[in-house]
Point group: C2
Amino acid sequence: MKHNFGAGPCILPQEVFHQAAEAVLDFNGLSILEVSHRHKDFVAVMDETMDLVKKALHVPSGYSVAFLQGGATLGFTIAALNMLRETKKAGYINTGVWAAGAIKEAKKVGVDVSVFASSEDKNFSYIPKDYTIPSDVDYIHFTSNNTIYGTQFKEFPKTNLPLVCDMSSDIFSKEINIGDFDLIYAGAQKNLGPAGATLYIVKDEILGKSTSSFMPTYLDLKQQVEKESMLNTPPVFSIYVAMLNLRNLLANGGVKEMEIKNNAKSVLLYNEIDHNPLFRGTVATEDRSNMNVTFLLENDSLQESFDKMWKAAEIVGLPGHRSTGGYRASMYNALPIESVQVLVNVMKEFTRING
Amino acid sequence: MKHNFGAGPCILPQEVFHQAAEAVLDFNGLSILEVSHRHKDFVAVMDETMDLVKKALHVPSGYSVAFLQGGATLGFTIAALNMLRETKKAGYINTGVWAAGAIKEAKKVGVDVSVFASSEDKNFSYIPKDYTIPSDVDYIHFTSNNTIYGTQFKEFPKTNLPLVCDMSSDIFSKEINIGDFDLIYAGAQKNLGPAGATLYIVKDEILGKSTSSFMPTYLDLKQQVEKESMLNTPPVFSIYVAMLNLRNLLANGGVKEMEIKNNAKSVLLYNEIDHNPLFRGTVATEDRSNMNVTFLLENDSLQESFDKMWKAAEIVGLPGHRSTGGYRASMYNALPIESVQVLVNVMKEFTRING
């Protein structure tokens, strides 16, 4: 069995893979791939999936859940379009490539963006903390976890303004208070399901209040919510597998239990990085992500040797993002701590030989 | 085994279901659902899928293929945004709900739409033929097959203007001349693959020439083409199954052979409708769709009896669209003629008993 540390699309529970494969062959007598999205059996799947999201994240009343397509990249546009109000301004925190993408797309739809906090000065190796949130803007936007750099917000920005978050890479990994947010969006392909679906959790009172002159139906969260994610043909299979994965999550203690396990995995690996003389972490200790652990070899000339060892241990997906180099161990919910132990053992053995 | 006459998502070849299920369990040692879209194994899948589209449809040089998400509904917006030029006007043919959707979304992004042909006067039961194509517009748009009503363009509009087509429900069902078009878009979930991917075939020379002031990156076909459908995480599994389906198509004679088979299925069923005294077709004979065969009982009181019979024969997906009633037998590429024969036999037997 391989140890999949890939940054996403990423590992899901093995049981989910088996159930998904079964449904491709037989879902009430048909393949799940040939079932009409209007069939009552699939409508039930969609309803259950939205309901499981609410259960898993304790989504309070007054919020709706919707599944769209297009990933967080289309989400950048959707967020800006739906949150635009009178000032046409918004405050964004720049924590790297994906945050910058959100900023770029907001500008493209006419938002006057104020980047009031940024960690660009140190190649996004930390989460900005000393900042003043602007008061004369329509909303505040941030990216909760930064997969490329391995940084994660441990405390969310505190504001009375509408708060919007791209939570693609750490939603369902730890408990959060949905009530703090007006809009959360997240590509499914980390802790929710396979690629192809994008989750939106939206405070109902923000729906239909955009001042944007441009609002294609598909991008209008009000209409998407009203149609219960069935405005047009949804990504049937991606939704189905998300349902399987959420069932699995809830049957295994839910987000609370995942958080405990993710913390344990994180302690195990960061501890090795901090104590092993041949490795070092790349980001500020207090901002380290529990999802994506980035680290470097102290001595680059040993790279080939290290690469050989982890590959021999059936580890996959460990190279860092092409923009940063080094290594990145993504440890999403479904990655067992045993896989992290395998990596830690490789690091120890590597240092025993080369140290 | 069930006979799936559903309008989409719809039947695909059984072999494709089996191969897809296998890949969910094992794709080079991982599940296809956990493979990074940047992994060379998936990049190869994407490349092959785009290449197979070109082979299957004899796409000439000077055209590109891209896969996006959002279905034809987002395609309505993408088509309008990317085709907008100096006049800001476009000519649309209204052949029903989906064509009307394209018109609505074009207007929403600022296109001055001229509906120069429509079959609304007879509830979209025919394809308009006597019309004058406007000359002072940026492009012409039509919907090649109308799933709800069961009509299909047998000859495409002839124009020197840029021609745009929503070909969601009959692409890959018959040979077409791609060179006649500037932009074709199609939701995958009929003859291409499962829901979750949308195909674009675009003449390269139209890319990057939009006059729209609004152009989110995701909706910009130029950027999507330049990134080879990897602008962001694509719908990995939907693409993979589309690849399997296209391999299957080409191994079985390609689009040419499908067209012959689709014609044979069509003749078989329309012949029964025309000769069986208890049934009648709902649309103009010359405009009948080979993909979606719509028909009514002459005597509504016999509905329950007929419904019992086709259900007993393991037929599914036969009820007409909720807006039209009656029956609709969708006969996409993967539906074997044997399934059509089962339906015809049921109709004959029904008439023997009730005629």
